[in-house]
Structures are given as C-alpha cells and as structure tokens.
C-alpha cells in the first residue's frame, strides 16, 4: 500500500481504508502500544481530547495499532459515558485533521465524506449537501436551524467550516455506534478498561444512585441517561420535568439532574422547570410516554405518577391474599 494511503489511514483510523490496512498488515499490539492506547483513552476522558502525534513515518502504523487498542479498552470498560466521551474526543481529533486537509486540498476530505455516503458539491465558496445528510449530521442548535437555511431542491448550503463540523458529528456517531466491540480481551486490555471505569468522575456515578427506588422504570432510565450525558429528546425532558415537579422534587434538585445534559444551561433549565411548576401541566399518560419512545416497561399503572400506587397496591393485594390462605 502506498504511503500516501498510510497517512490517510493514520489520520482517519475509523475508515474502511484504515481497517483494511490493519487487517492486511497484521499489526501487533505490543505492551508498549497497549500503554499508549490507554493513554489515548485516558486523555480523551480527562481532557476531552485525543492528542495528535508528530506524523513521523514510523509513527503512522503505530497510530493505527494504538487506535485499535483504544477501542478494545473502551469496549472492555463497556460504559455508555466512556463510549460517548471517547467518541467525541476522537471526532475532534478527526475534525482537526480534516480542517488541515481541507486547506491542503488533497482529496482526503472527500474520501472521509464518502465513508458516510455523503457527497458535498462545491458551490462558490460553500457546499451543497443533501438534506438526508444535513439533518442527521448537524447538531440541533440555533446555528444549524433548517428554517434559517438555504434549502433548495433537497440540498442545504453549508460553509466550509460547517462541512468539517458535520463530518466531525458523523465521525462521533459512527464511533459511538460501533462500540462496544464484543470480544474476549487480553488481560492487559481488561485491566486498562477497569482503570478507565475508575476515572468516571465520582459525580456522574453519584447522581445515578440517589434514592429513587419508587420512581417508575421510564423515569429512572431518563435520569440515568441524563447523568451519562446522553441526550434526551425535548418531549422526554418535558415529561421528566413534569414528573419530578409533581413528585415534589425541588427546582434546585431538578436542575442538578439536568446538569450533565449535553447542552445544559443553568438559566434555561431553571426557567423551564419554574415554567412547568407554575403552569401545572398534566403528566403524560403511559401510552403517550410510549409514543415518545421513553416507556420501557409495562407497569399497568396508566400514568407514571400512579406507578407507586400500582406497585404498592399489588403488594398489598398479595399480602391480603397471603393472609387469607
């Protein structure tokens, strides 16, 4: 394989080209490389970044092996928070390379885009991208709000910088979706995985296990997701907010629950919770929760608010029945 390709592969180790390169060259994961792989994951978790190393010819193959090792370590830790934080950091690294390659104009950017089945068409200084790629690969923020965009014949106009940002998002989704790898790992990998688990900030773990025994499964799951910085759709957040307000949880506490949401803003969250409180919204029924995609059990309680009664009722009935016998 030509060395130009190796440059591409080491910069974008998540691509098919890189995978092929690794399987053809039979790279070996020595213990030094495992150490470096651990450092890569460690960096990602602690600083949110994966360092770019000097691109010496020798380092390139190594870089590929380290990436493979890092994926194994993350998989062995098998924790949603680690996976998502690691994916974000890898995506940032790729984004930096993409920005450089974009200026160098060497075709790398198109090649990465094709990895996601996306073609950007040049239009003046900008690019046209199909809506089917624009929507999944842009963050849901005011900057990317479709309403304020030029949309024509199924294509959206994006700037050069936004094109790179979109690919970063695509890389993140791809890495997130491909982890964990299910396999048996060697001992040094699993040990490294354990050390990564220990890195999860104490806070994250603490929030998950506050006394919520009486919360219904859907609510528990949403709180867990929030603590792990997993994005909840708007409808789900509103439902969660209404539940917590009706369950008598204080605004401060509710804001704390939302603190790890990927797009958390203290001011907005506080305002929204207060809004829910003062408007006395009705709790969505279980079938509505189900249609939001957040119902995960069949508790037969009608609304999450009656969950406690429903399980207590069942317990009381059981006790009564036992007494009779």
């Amino acid at each position: 394989m030509a060395s130009a390709d190796l440059i591409f592969c080491s910069r974008y180790p998540f691509t098919k080209q890189a995978k092929d390169y690794v399987s053809e060259s039979g790279l070996e994961l020595t213990s030094t490389l495992v150490e470096k792989a651990e450092a890569r994951v460690n960096n990602a978790l602690v600083t949110g970044k994966v360092k770019r190393v000097a691109e010496l010819p020798d380092a390139r193959e190594e870089e590929l092996a380290i990436y493979a090792g890092a994926r194994m370590i993350v998989s062995s830790a098998n924790n949603r928070y680690i996976i998502s934080r690691y994916a974000v950091a890898e995506a940032k690294r790729a984004g930096e390379y993409l920005a450089g390659d974009d200026a160098a104009n060497n075709g790398h950017v198109e090649l990465v885009a094709s990895e996601f089945g996306v073609r950007f068409e040049k239009k003046g200084k900008d690019y046209l991208v199909p809506l089917s790629a624009y929507l999944p690969f842009t963050p849901r923020s005011m900057d990317y709000k479709l309403t304020n965009r030029e949309l024509e014949n199924g294509f959206v106009l994006v700037s050069r910088h936004e094109r790179i940002r979109m690919m970063e998002e695509a890389v993140k989704k791809k890495i997130e979706g491909s982890l964990p790898i299910r396999a048996q790992f060697s001992e040094d990998i699993t040990e490294a995985g354990k050390r990564m688990l220990a890195l999860i900030p104490k806070l994250e773990v603490a929030t998950v296990s506050v006394g919520q025994e009486n919360y219904p499964p859907c609510i528990k799951k949403m709180l867990e997701d929030l603590a792990l910085s997993i994005n909840l759709p708007h409808t789900a957040r509103v439902a969660l907010g209404i539940y917590l307000v009706s369950a008598g949880v204080t605004t401060d506490k509710i804001v704390d629950y939302f603190r790890h949401a990927p797009d958390f803003s203290e001011k907005t969250t506080r305002y929204q919770v207060e809004h829910l409180r003062s408007h006395k919204y009705n709790m969505p029924s279980c079938s509505t929760m189900d249609s939001y995609g957040v119902c995960i059990a069949d508790c037969r309680c009608g609304t999450p608010l009656r969950y406690r009664d429903a399980i207590n009722g069942a317990r009381l009935r059981r006790l009564a029945a036992e007494k009779k016998e």
């Binding site: 479709l146 309403t147 304020n148 030029e150 119902c295």
Partner: protein, 376 residues
C-alpha cells in the same frame, strides 16, 4: 383508561343506527380497493364512537387478513402507523423495532369555528394550504418528486400528504421536527438572513433557496403595491426608485436608495409577511415517528366519506368525490338542527329537530355519522 387491549372487544349492544352503519361499512370493505403499502409491517389502530383509536398495536399478516378484519369488524375509524416495524404488535413501543417511516404532513382546518357540519369555506381554505405545502415546500425546497408524494383527503375537512422517499425514511423525531419547523417557519430569524457590511445592508437574493428567497421574491412583488411601497419609504413614490430597489434586491443588496430606519422597517415587514409565507401543518404529526394516521381510502366514521386518495388536488372536490354510499335512499328522522348542505350535487336541509326526510344514501349516512339523525 390507558390500557388499550390489542384485541377487538365483544361488541356490546349496538343501536339500530350503529348496526346499519356497520353493515354499510362492512359491505364497502368487501368490495373496495385497499391502499396500504406494506401492511404486514404496520401497526393498525381501530376506533369506534368513543375514541378514534380505541384498539391499537394490531398486526395483520397481509392485505387479505386486513380486508377480512375490516369486513368483519367494520370499525368506524381505521388508522395505521406511519412507521414500518419488525414486530408491529409488540409492546411497549421500543420492542416493535422501528425500521423506517413515511414522512407525513397533516393539514386541518385550524381554528375551524363553523360547528360540526362541513363548511365549504373551511374546506377550500385547507385545500389551498395543501396546495401551498406541495408547490412551495415539498417540491421546490425539499426536492421530492411528485411520485414520492401521495395525498389523501382526511374524510373530514383536512388532507394528509405522505412522502415515501429514501432520503427521509430513516430520519428520527428531531430531524423530522426540523422539517416541520422549516415548513411552519418556526425559529425563523431576521438577524440570520440580513446583515450589515459597512454602510450597506445585505440580505437574501430573489433566486435564493429557503425562506430568505421566499421573502425576497414576495417582497419584490409587493413593491407594486403603492401602500406597501410607501410604508417603507416616501422615496418609493417614484417608479424609477422602485425599479432601482427591486433590481438591487435581486442581487442581495437591500438598500441602494437610502431608506430611513431601514432595519426596523424591513424587520417589521418580515415579521408580517413570514406568516403568509409559512405553511400550516400540525408539526406534532410530522415529528411523530410512530403516529397512527387514517388509512387512505378508508371510511371516516364521523362523515361516512372516504379518506380518498387524491390524484389532482385542483380537481378534487371533497363533497362530490369523497362520499361513497351512492346507491338507494334512506328515510331518517332529524334529531338536531341541520344547516343547508350539498352532498354529491344533492342539496338538502335546513332541517329542524323532529323532521323526517327521505334522502340519497350518502346524505343519510352523513347525518347518521354526525349523530344528527336516526333511522325512520
């Protein structure tokens, strides 16, 4: 009651009218064309007098099973999921294993205040909105092709537009919400479309895509209107100045004539005009990837009309084309005041409660469905 049994109920005692409609609906379903793509992958919902969706999570193996259920149960309302699932009858929803979904747009006579009887005015209005959705958004902006769209009348006043396109089938709720927000102009910001550069004031060009282009085109057109033009600047009294501004906007320069307070003026026009430029759809329906929506060509139990598939929106006349029971007559006794109506060229009413009338079948079925008459 939130529990929704998946199986049809043992039919409780029906009134004579319910029995009558049941027979009518059933015989219709035994002969009519069924128009559902991939019924085996959809969730179905059936409804009755109480609720439009009383039973959901229903799965059918194929079209013939669907037909036989429709013939035997003849529900008043039939809906199916916009989504395709691996296990359409599984519960809770996550276990259905969502595969993809049509993109749907629901248009209804919003703020309709003319009572429960059909009103020509509302119907025309919604039809115009459906037309706008297709001609100004779905085809030019989203770039769907005509054969990816299927339109049907809702059976009452509105229309549903289903988009079946690879480009959108996999989109999740949030992406669909973006699409709905685009159509309704939600989150549209003047500041995002206009900017200052030195002394100049730039904005969208008339040839631009998106809302910017829509606004620029509409604005340029409205400059013909004296009142509109003068409310922007007295200078526009002169036709040459109007022409000059118009030509400049084509290129994205929104002020080459020196408009006083131009930012406020333009922002104000923008705020007024965005409403007419935006589409009027129910955004929640579009965003809902597991929505149950009326089956095309099924009967709407509140009118007895078909939720008819529409080939040409312009040529479609709901009160002529949607009624399906076109044979025979039926004598009915009026139980509540009925205004003058025309169904399939037959004009009848107004009626006062207690009156009896022998009406063409479609009219009689309509009044029975509206619960405004009983059999006589």
């Amino acid at each position: 009651m939130d529990e929704q049994p998946t199986d049809a109920p043992h039919h409780s005692v029906r009134t004579l009218e319910e029995e009558f409609l049941h027979k009518k609906f059933s015989s219709h379903y035994s002969q009519s064309r069924i128009n559902v793509l991939r019924p085996e992958s959809r969730e179905f919902g059936f409804g009755g007098w109480e609720k439009k969706i009383e039973f959901r999570h229903i799965r059918v193996k194929n079209e013939s099973e669907l037909r036989s259920r429709l013939v035997s149960e003849a529900p008043l309302y039939i809906s199916h999921s916009v989504a395709y699932y691996e296990f359409p009858d599984a519960r809770p929803m996550v276990k259905k294993n969502w595969l993809s979904a049509d993109l749907v747009f629901d248009l209804d006579a919003e703020g309709h205040t003319c009572g429960k009887f059909t009103c020509q005015h509302c119907m025309e209005k919604v039809k115009g909105e459906a037309h706008q959705l297709i001609e100004e958004f779905l085809l030019p902006d989203f770039g769907f092709s005509k054969n990816e769209l299927s339109i049907n009348f809702s059976g009452s006043r509105g229309y549903h537009v289903h988009v079946r396109s690879e480009a959108v089938a996999q989109l999740d709720r949030e992406a669909r919400r973006e699409i709905a927000d685009y159509v309704t102009g939600t989150g549209l910001l003047f500041d995002r479309l206009f900017w200052k550069e030195g002394k100049k004031f730039f904005g969208p060009k008339t040839a631009d895509g998106g809302f910017g282009g829509k606004f620029a085109r509409a604005f340029v057109k409205r400059l013909d209107n004296d009142e509109f033009a003068l409310s922007i600047s007295r200078k526009l009294k002169k036709p040459e100045e109007r022409e000059k501004l118009r030509a400049s906007i084509q290129t994205g320069n929104w002020d080459n004539i020196g408009i006083a307070n131009r930012e406020e003026k333009l922002a104000e026009k923008f705020a007024q005009m965005r409403l007419t430029l935006a589409g009027r759809i129910d955004a929640n329906v579009t965003a809902d990837t597991s929505k149950l929506i009326r089956m095309a060509d099924s009967i709407h139990g509140g009118s007895g009309f078909a939720a008819k598939s529409v080939d040409s929106l312009d040529a479609f006349e709901p009160m002529k084309d949607a009624p399906i029971f076109n044979e025979g007559e039926q004598k009915v006794k009026i139980t509540e005041a009925v205004p003058a109506l025309t169904i399939r060229d037959h004009s009848f009413g107004p009626f006062v409660p207690g009156a009896t009338a022998t009406l063409p079948m479609a009219c009689a079925v309509y009044l029975l469905c509206k619960k405004a008459a009983t059999l006589a």
